[in-house]
């Protein structure tokens, strides 16, 4: 049984049919490259999985559980993390707070006042996580807004990996990065695969997709038009799927 199963997912925005019956499965520990032109429906599909959008038709199962039209909070809690293209960080909050956003561990003050955010724990764990990722971030107490693009990317990745996900969705994770940083992200994807974590990689950079994926899925006008094993396809073939010639 697959880790993630999408069955006939449909999504409309007014008269625009963004997704027209998308069926797709992702095995545990596999890397799926999702490619397609701008407006093909890649981001919409992912946001439908993570609960930001509610599908108009079809069903989503994750780990044997029905999760169609679930809330973003619950989707995260069952092990699906997404790294958004715009990173979805809160610029005025510090690095540690951003990594634990929405999942702050709490403790009790004086033994009876509940709900206190456990700051020392957040700071220590954030530092540990960034170190494990080999990320260069000046301090976990810096506001995220003052960091460079690559550093912000590290924070977004650290947030996705801190709570032991089973599936990580990355939307253009290498688009804004320097070459050296790109290699780092690709290494990280291989490392996730080794740990048995599935990855869906959305990218315009086909070389990146070919470098790390097991399968490549091409989306055009809200429909899947190709689903091929990476080793058995070619760059030219994938490009022709994307542009539809």
């Amino acid at each position: 049984m697959s880790l993630l199963e999408l069955n006939g997912i449909e999504k409309r925005f007014g008269s625009v049919e963004a997704l027209r019956g998308v069926t797709l499965s992702v095995e545990a520990g596999s890397v799926v490259g999702l490619v397609g032109d701008n407006g093909a429906g890649k981001s919409t599909l992912m946001k439908t999985i993570t609960g930001i959008y509610q599908p108009d038709g079809g069903a989503i199962r994750f780990d044997g559980q029905e999760v169609t039209a679930d809330t973003p909070g619950h989707i995260r809690s069952i092990g699906i993390e997404m790294i958004y293209q715009d990173l979805a960080l809160a610029p005025q909050q510090d690095v540690a707070s951003n990594i634990f956003l929405g999942r702050e561990p709490t403790k009790t003050l004086f033994g009876f006042i509940p709900g206190l955010i456990d700051r020392p724990k957040i700071v220590a764990e954030a530092e540990r996580m960034l170190q494990r990722l080999g990320a260069r971030v000046p301090s976990v107490l810096s506001p995220v807004g003052v960091l460079s693009g690559g550093q912000q990317q590290s924070v977004a990745i650290a947030r996705a990996l801190t709570f032991g996900p089973k599936l990580v969705i990355m939307d253009e994770p290498t688009a804004a990065l320097a070459v050296r940083e790109v290699d780092h992200v690709l290494d990280l994807i291989r490392e996730l695969k080794r740990q048995g974590i599935a990855v869906i990689l959305i990218s315009h950079r086909l070389t990146d997709v070919f470098a790390v994926s097991d399968r490549i899925v091409a989306l055009r006008q809200g429909q899947i038009i190709a689903d091929e094993v990476t080793a058995e396809t070619s760059m030219n073939q994938v490009v022709s799927h994307i542009v539809g010639s």
Binding site: A88, P91, S97, R136
Partner: protein, 323 residues
Amino acid sequence: MTTAPDAAPKPRQNRFYFRIESLVVLVVLCIVMTLLSPFFLSTSNILNILLATATIGVLAIGATYVIASAGLDLSLGSVLGLSAVFGAFLVDRLGLPWPFGIVGALFAGFAAGYVNGQLITRLRIPAFIVTLGMLGIARGLALVISSGQAIYGLPSELVYLGQGRPFGIPMPVIIFFLVAVVTHYILAHTKYGKHTLVIGDNEQAARATGIQVERHRRSLYAFSGLMAGIAGLIFMTRVNAGDPTAGLNYELTAITAAIIGGTNLFGGRGSIFGTMIGALIMGVLQNGLNLMAVQSYYQQMAIGAVLIFAVWLDQFNRKVATR
């Protein structure tokens, strides 16, 4: 990749999360007032300042939460008036026991804020418009309930809340202090407070990480209304009447206090400790102008000017910071 963090200066961690400049302004203002008036530093005058600050301060707490979430509540002053009238109406006109004065004032404030939150998040009407509308509705309702005249004569238990002085400290100051401590704790140290700031900072990020943005927003406006209810209770018991004109234009002072205390007008940053300093700055300013016998019309102008100046300073700082 190396794991060693770059050698960069550790950012200053401020335990109370406020802007140090506002504290400097408060101290300088106090020194100037002391030099200008021999009465300024007397115990009775300081208690006077705190007493005057209590009402504004509680309102400013509501303003801080809402503004920190990138919202706005313009109805604070009017809801204060409605709360004061409603509490007085229940005990004086309907003859209910005195605890209904407290419950009624708090309920009226909470209810007005609850309606604000519902309209803003369910019907998606901008907060600016909804709370501006509520400013008119609440004031009008206060005038209707009271037939346009102050409702005098509250039971002594209620009056104690406004005029009692346990250990020589006015009750409103004690209420203000307790409310400030609790709300500071919530904003600075709990998930609820953190999520309030995150919603103001980047709503999309808040949503993506599973924070229930609309529900949180609703609760913030209800909270803000509750603060106006507490302020209304203080006002009502202090003057021993439900005055339908109570709190007129107070939203101006409350929002100013929140902004000069360091709340980011566009959301994402704010602390109750900072707002307390902001409220004290407003209190000292008004008190000083009173001591120097400046007409109240000019005081109103001064508050408005301070608000504009504080926002300009904030913009200016940000421009320098991002340069």
